[in-house]
């Protein structure tokens, strides 16, 4: 079992604190979404994890060990940091061959991951002829090269076409299903919601949340019900009698907040209100995230206040 442990991690670049005393754990067997706006410290945290940047203070370990102490680290941890890292004049296969050699991985693995990433037909083409999506696939192939227990991907969906996005979603689910530890950074909410089980959210270098995806949403966004009817008066009357306050929207539909279809459906049905549509409005990750960052912005705008 390989978990990622980040403890009181801090990184300063000059006067700027890119990562500010964050502590969290990433557990195996699930996909952890690493969320935050650009500049929140996600990429810095990943670089600190990989020993590429040195922390100002605190520690980041993999299965209890700092990354730099791992022998043949690609066999333990696979990472995609930058899809542009491959040299344009080298073929995709040669790029992976060099990586494989550095960690004593067999050439067979190179061809396997190229196949897995859907790059086998382009394997012997120069990387500069690759589209952004293909480079992204090459970076993911590189991350999978050592069959690692821990997979770190920074914005893996960048530049992928719709087919590629479906592929990465399935891949992440599969890796977690195999018991691996999967940490995927993104600033795309809907995309993250489609594959993550757990969330770690950063804002301006600080840890804002470390919680299950479902809990994260439910704690911040209340579900609602969406209704369309041909008889608004009857709808308003029956809902008002039961203490609900429906909101009318310009395109003609109504929403009732803080309630569920199971409660509203029987009411309007019993009152004989003619319905065109009755549907549940689940909170989205995006709504929950915006609610969180709005609260954080409010907090941050009050200076001189310690946590």
């Amino acid at each position: 079992m390989t978990s990622i442990d980040v403890h009181e991690l801090t990184k300063e670049y000059g006067p700027r604190r890119a990562v500010d005393r964050i502590t969290f754990q990433v557990l195996p067997g699930r996909v952890t979404g690493f969320l935050g706006p650009n500049g929140a410290g996600k990429s810095t945290t990943l670089r600190l994890l990989l020993g590429l940047d040195r922390p100002t203070s605190g520690a980041a370990t993999l299965a209890g060990r700092p990354y730099v102490t791992l022998t043949d680290p690609l066999r333990h941890v696979g990472a995609l940091l930058d899809a542009q890292a491959a040299h344009g004049s080298r073929t995709g296969r040669d790029h992976l061959l060099a990586l494989a050699a550095s960690n004593r991985l067999p050439v067979r693995r190179v061809d396997q991951v190229l196949e897995e990433a859907g790059l086998a037909p382009a394997a012997r083409r120069r990387v500069r002829t690759y589209s952004l999506g293909m480079r992204q696939r090459l970076g993911i192939a590189a991350a999978l090269l050592g069959d690692p227990a821990v997979v770190l991907l920074d914005e893996p969906a960048n530049g992928l076409d719709p087919e590629g996005i479906v592929w990465i979603r399935g891949l992440l689910r599969r890796l977690a299903g195999e018991g691996r530890t999967v940490l995927v950074s993104s600033h795309l909410m809907n995309e993250t919601a489609s594959f993550a089980d757990h969330l770690v959210v950063l804002g301006r270098g600080r840890l804002l949340a470390d919680t299950a995806l479902r809990d994260f949403i439910d704690a911040r966004v209340h579900p609602g019900v969406r209704i369309r009817t041909t008889d608004p008066t009857a709808l308003k009357n029956v809902l008002a009698r039961h203490g609900h306050d429906p909101v009318h929207h310009p395109d003609g539909h109504w929403t009732v907040r803080h309630t569920r279809v199971d409660d509203i459906g029987p009411l309007v049905s019993a009152a004989g209100v003619p319905l065109l549509e009755l549907s549940a409005q689940e909170g989205t990750l995006e709504q929950a995230y915006l609610a969180l960052t709005a609260a954080d912005a409010e907090f941050a705008s009050r200076p001189h206040e310690e946590v």
Binding site: L52, T71, L74, A85
Partner: protein, 241 residues
């Protein structure tokens, strides 16, 4: 750092070099430029030093060796490449040593070929009455040529790591070697003889006056190279990648 952990890193760095056409091209250009410019100089009855008349072109051949050493390192400073390399080989000292070995060994081999080719071509084109370099000078010239070119390539590699830029390193080294050293080098004796190229090229001459001699000259060049490599290694170790 045991051989078991160094060999894979070296293997990876060698793959990176042999899979770039520009790197192979730069290696091939070393003997080509050396022999071609020596031949050109020979047409004008250039140098009366028997050995150096064959090695005159090294001034230009070394540019190719320097370009080779520079681009092998500077490729790592393109977007994200160094991060990928250091994620695979997190011990930075080991990684840099592997990089330098992968630069030095092929340049040394190509340097031997260059030395032999230049001397053979020189002997074939010189007139029947020209002074012929004796076998001992051939041996010294060939090994000296290989060592000199290796040191210059490593000097360039170290400087590139210090500056984190291939353009930066070449824009210092190329004008220095083609212009400054020519001008300053004509001033005989003194500190000019201790410049890395002036000192290292003494080994390519039949005769020399005073200090440094052929091997002490190479030692002087080796000191310059060691300084550049040490500074480069320090930069690689301390900087965030």
């Amino acid at each position: 750092m045991g051989p078991l952990t160094f060999a894979p890193a070296l293997h990876a760095e060698w793959i990176k070099i042999r899979t770039l056409r520009s790197q192979i091209g730069a290696l091939a250009a070393v003997p080509l430029a050396t022999v071609a410019f020596s031949a050109l100089a020979g047409l004008g009855n250039g140098d009366d030093d028997a050995l150096f008349s064959a090695f005159f072109g090294v001034t230009f051949g070394q540019i190719a060796a320097i370009a080779f050493g520079t681009t092998a390192v500077s490729a790592e400073f393109q977007t994200g490449a160094l991060r990928l390399s250091l994620a695979a080989v997190p011990r930075r000292g080991r990684w840099f040593a592997a990089k330098l070995t992968a630069i030095g060994l092929p340049v040394f081999a190509v340097g031997l070929v260059t030395g032999l080719t230049a001397l053979t071509a020189g002997a074939a084109t010189s007139g029947p009455h020209a002074h012929r370099a004796p076998p001992a000078e051939w041996l010294r010239g060939t090994t000296g040529c290989a060592v000199y070119l290796t040191l210059m390539a490593l000097l360039a590699a170290g400087l590139t790591a210090v500056l984190r830029s291939g353009v930066g390193a070449l824009s210092i080294l190329v004008p220095f070697l083609l212009l400054v050293s020519f001008v300053v080098g004509d001033v005989n004796g003194g500190a000019a003889g201790l410049l890395p190229d002036r000192a290292g090229q003494v080994v390519l001459h039949s005769t020399w006056d005073g200090v440094p001699g052929p091997w002490t000259g190479l030692a002087v060049t080796a000191l310059w190279t060691a300084a550049a490599v040490a500074a480069g290694a320090w930069r690689v170790r301390v900087r965030d990648a």
